[in-house]
């Protein structure tokens, strides 16, 4: 019974998430208005009037179109960040865990140095020094998030290294590298992937935080955080300018979080070793 509920929850949440993602990506090609075209005479139109689905902002840009354009960018950059962090961090962790000795020591020291900084502080410092821009924001987040995967994959490797089947493989004469690839790696992938999925939500929030501060995707890009900080002045008069990107952020992160949580519950039951 428990399994059936988890299955339903997982596929339902996955379906919602996929619908959102596909919508964002496809709708980007059917935008009614240019997300960056300013038109001061059309500023501050309330939602629903004059063909603007969600109204316009202080410079006359269509909010709905900006949300979709920003959503596309957010999805792309977060996925890239998580992919890079997953790959790079896991490789470092594998190196450290599998080699042991001096290499392990050095890599662990490096990860500790990076982890000595509170996450957001490091991101702000890196992005602040590199300057605004989407690429710099991504670099900053990559440098912040990689340590989690390095640590996690290192501990996974250490756990798996002493398993019976690995020792059996050694006895049969398998080379160290092939053991790593054929036996250890496939067992590391599921938990790492689940962590990565959970982190996508966090990365999206961090990107929004960075762009709120003017780093990462700064104005005039349609990044949701930047949209919110631009509209701060209008908190009293037009709060919808802030609320709409906020809700968009919430929906996206919420769906990602629920989906990856359900995925974790679902795959946990079926966790099995490849032998």
């Amino acid at each position: 019974m428990q399994n059936k509920k988890t299955k339903i929850a997982y596929f339902l949440s996955l379906a919602f998430l996929l619908v959102l993602l596909v919508f964002m990506l496809v709708a980007g090609f059917f935008l009614k208005h240019d997300p960056y075209a300013t038109n001061l005479s059309d500023a501050f139109i309330p939602a629903g009037e004059e063909g603007y689905l969600l109204g316009t902002d202080q410079l006359g840009r269509c909010i709905a179109c900006r949300i979709i354009a920003g959503g596309q960018q957010t999805i792309y950059s977060s996925m890239i960040v998580v992919a890079v962090v997953l790959a790079f961090g896991s490789i470092m962790g594998m190196l450290a865990g599998y080699s042991g000795g001096a290499i392990d020591s050095v890599i662990t020291k490096i990860t500790t140095v990076f982890q000595a900084f509170p996450g957001f502080v490091l991101a702000v410092a890196i992005a602040g020094i590199l300057g605004p821009g989407k690429g710099n924001g991504m670099i900053a987040l990559i440098l912040v998030y990689w340590t989690t995967y390095a640590r996690y994959s290192r501990s996974l490797v250490l756990n798996l290294k002493n398993n019976t089947f690995v020792r059996a493989a050694r006895m049969c004469g398998a080379g160290r590298v092939s053991i790593l690839i054929k036996y250890i790696l496939p067992n590391m992938v599921p938990p790492l992937l689940v962590t990565a999925a959970l982190d996508i939500g966090n990365v999206v929030l961090s990107m929004a935080g960075l762009s709120y501060l003017g780093l990462g995707g700064a104005r005039p890009t349609a990044e949701w955080g930047a949209m919110m900080s631009e509209s701060r002045r209008f908190l009293q008069t037009n709060p919808s300018l802030i609320v709409i990107p906020g809700i968009a952020l919430f929906i996206m992160v919420f769906l990602f979080n629920i989906c990856s949580d359900c995925a974790r519950n679902y795959y946990d039951k079926r966790g099995s070793f490849h032998e």
């Binding site: 000595a116 509170p118 502080v121 702000v124 410092a125 020094i129 929030l205 919110m228 802030i242």
Partner: protein, 311 residues
Amino acid sequence: MKKNSIKKWGKKLLSALVIVLGVTFLTFLLSYLSPDDAAVVKLSSMGTGYTQEMLDKTREEMGLDRPFLEQYLDWMKNVIRLDFGKSYRTSENITDMMLAALPNTLKLTFLSLMVTLIISLPIGILCAYHPNGWLDSVMRLFSYFFSSLPSFFISLIVLYYACIKWNLFKVMAEPGIRGFILPALVTGVSLSSWYIRQIRAIALEQLSSQYVYSLYSRGISRQRILWKHVLKNCMLPVITLLGVSIGGMLGGSAITESIFSVKGVGALAVSAVTSRDYPFIQAYAAWMAALYLLVNYLVDVAGRKLDPRIS
């Protein structure tokens, strides 16, 4: 025994020093690698355009064309004397700016943690006591909800309702404790959602251990077991959690402080970032890292004092 523990403390201190060294190295490396270096920022802040010649000359004057290690050692020499240089934005002594602003950030962090603990300890324990009950499910929903909201969104909405619509507080933070209530509440409540889940897990583990069973069989009331014994035993893991979240708060305070106009280190960092004030950003990173390391060290010590079984 005593000599052994001195050796261990010494080793720990040494590795902490190495890490602090690594941290300062990293922060200095950051600004060294930045595309717009100090000379560019200085010249462009003067308003008029500049030529490549002027740029080279300024670089030479500021010592920016020396090899990396030389610049780093030079910076470190000053850092050891706690001199972080002058801010590009306000030309004040950075150390003074930091020392003036740090107490506010610490006050905010402390208040937020108090709020978090007051809310999440009782609720977390109750959730563990009635697992999958209505309170538990509601809290699970809350936790999902809050962890998906960006912190600045919550802050802005609270600012809107509390200050503008309902006029409970002024938009500009008032001096004294009053100005800290809102940001502490916002930070505290949103952190509570995560804490409640964590404390629930901790309390669940406690509730299934032997001593609870034996206390109950001796006739101690459920209430007493829960609020006297289990609570005490939860404190140790909770303190470790506190150590972890202080780091997050030191960093996240940047946004909250700037929204609620709290004159803390985070707000200064935000202005430094918008005005490309490199020396300040460097100092901010170094200070926050040092603070975080100190806090983790204190948490370790506290943990060892509370539970002598940890070595």
